[in-house]
Point group: C2
Chain length 334, copies 2
């Protein structure tokens, strides 16, 4: 019995901001699973800002996406047919084989998900890569202390909103920057102390200064660019800068100049450190235990922005760069 | 018996590159030392790039220099008269009361120097603040491993040349950037593997790439600006950037834009950390013991560039910014 799967392929490499016609929808007939292989039907897939980097044809920490081939990314789904004893039909699994409705792959590409009393797509958000990204780096690089002032850019997104709430649990004061009053209202409803709407603030530095008059001990950077310059300006001595992403420059053909105030790194003794979530895999068990408990207790909340159907995955991805999502951007596939 | 001392005062705050007329020579009559006070005649004083920062009227990690008052900085000298039992005439002492020939101060401002079999001015260089700056940060932030490739900017100066030699002792490959072939020849004579003359290289990035074809694990930054941008470009994954200074922008009225390639911090997982030598004072005993032994054994060498007479201290200071010094820039006072 053949299974048909629709998938999204990279048709051409974006120059600057990606466009719909960089992607194409295709339909494939999946083979029956061979020995050790499993057939999975995805129920949810994730789109994330980091995927933009894989659309460039350059060496990086993950290989570039290939033209004419299906894109990849986090997905959760159910096992349909299994030739591996570790999986049986109905098992909930995660994989990096998103951007497609179904797939056949070696069982080694799958990770069985627990029945944690949360909706399955949470494993693409607070209990998945974005949550682990937030949890691991905030503790490992940020080294938070009670009373620290934490500034989070891109705070309305999946990672940023998790950081805000973890920081509150750790007794920090949290200042969030996001691109709409709605996002900020939600962030305040989950405990954030002060918000800055970077799209409407006449002057970002003035707005952040007003929100964090004593300065900032930890800056969680999802944005780069002017947010990074402002963070250097308001940083207190020995501030830690968690460099998670710089979405403001991912689409730049000509990389914009960096902060004009880099010398604060010396005088203020700032530690600025980049990371990839896989660097901190030694914290995974701790993350699952602690974050899982916070989610169950309702101490960590999340929002989702959902597109439906694999054909809308490019739209969901493009919307990340206009800030259309509050919380985790997801594509529902079944 | 009155003692006359000539001193250099800050006459006006420099705008951009400091000029001779920002300084003035004055003569003062010193009082006899009171209870607990000591009269010291300086034999050597230090000029250092960080002093430029204190000439701005702004809050920083040290208070700004005051107009019309003598400048301050590291000095070594001999006790002439003492009303404190810890010091006796002839003792060699260091203080932060440089830019003057003699002074009366509370004994608490003095640090007695050991008879270490080295010339006294070494305590303003390899065995003093510049040596401690190099030693502490290279180990604490750089976390060097044998085989690491280390790129040092401003390598011809007191701090940079110490870093180069410490890195060689630790089994690293060292690439040095300096502003003259003479400086590079000396650096190679003390073990540096490859040199880049940033003043004559047609393209700094190409030159550094040629000198460090495998990339760089540790960047010791004395310069900032284009050197920092190049270092981000050639950095290997998990590189450590020791942010000691950014002499290229100390004199800028309009701060220049920062590196265009800041996003490498994320993708390459770079750790960039600023510091002030006083942050690492817990390493002082280790520094004295190990660096002292290396100096005695001849494993650490140094050069000096000397001006004579307190009236030439401004000239010595100004020459730091044109790179006129090889090694430690000193003013001989007696």
């Amino acid at each position: 019995m053949a299974t048909t799967s629709r998938e999204i392929r990279l048709k051409s490499r974006p120059e600057g901001m990606p466009k719909a016609d960089n992607f194409e929808l295709a339909s494939v007939e999946l083979p029956a699973p061979g020995p050790g292989e499993v057939l999975v039907r995805n129920s949810w897939m994730s789109v994330d800002p980091y995927m933009r980097g894989r659309m460039y044809d350059r060496a990086s920490y993950v290989p570039p996406f290939q033209l004419g081939q299906a894109l990849q990314g986090g997905a959760v789904g159910a096992v349909v047919q299994s030739n591996d004893e570790r999986f049986k039909p109905g098992d909930l699994v995660e994989s990096m084989l998103g951007w497609r409705e179904a797939f056949v792959a070696s069982a080694s590409n799958l990770n069985k998900l627990p029945n944690a009393g949360v909706p399955p797509q949470a494993f693409l958000g607070v209990l998945g890569m974005p949550g682990m990204t937030a949890y691991s780096s905030f503790h490992r690089i940020g080294a938070p202390k009670e009373g620290d002032v934490v500034f989070v850019s891109g705070a309305g997104g999946a990672v940023g909103s998790a950081v805000c709430q973890i920081a509150k649990i750790r007794g920090c004061t949290v200042v969030a920057s996001a691109g709409s009053d709605e996002k900020l209202a939600w962030l305040k409803s989950v405990g954030v102390d002060a918000g800055v709407n970077y799209k409407t603030a006449p002057n970002l530095l003035d707005a952040v200064r007003a929100a964090a008059p004593k300065g900032v001990d930890i800056y969680f950077d999802n944005v780069g660019g002017d947010h990074l310059e402002v963070a250097l300006e308001v940083a207190r001595p020995f501030a830690r800068f968690i460099e998670c992403g710089m979405i403001s420059i991912y689409n730049a053909n000509e990389p914009p100049p960096g902060p004009r105030n880099m010398s604060y790194i010396v005088g203020k003794r700032i530690k600025m450190q980049g990371f990839i979530v896989s660097d901190f895999m030694d914290m995974r068990e701790q993350f699952i235990a602690e974050m899982g408990a916070w989610v169950k207790d309702g101490r960590i909340k999340w929002e989702e922005t959902i597109e439906t159907g694999v054909e809308n995955a490019p739209k969901a991805f493009l919307n990340l760069f206009t800030g259309a999502n509050t919380g985790k951007m997801l594509v529902k596939l079944d």
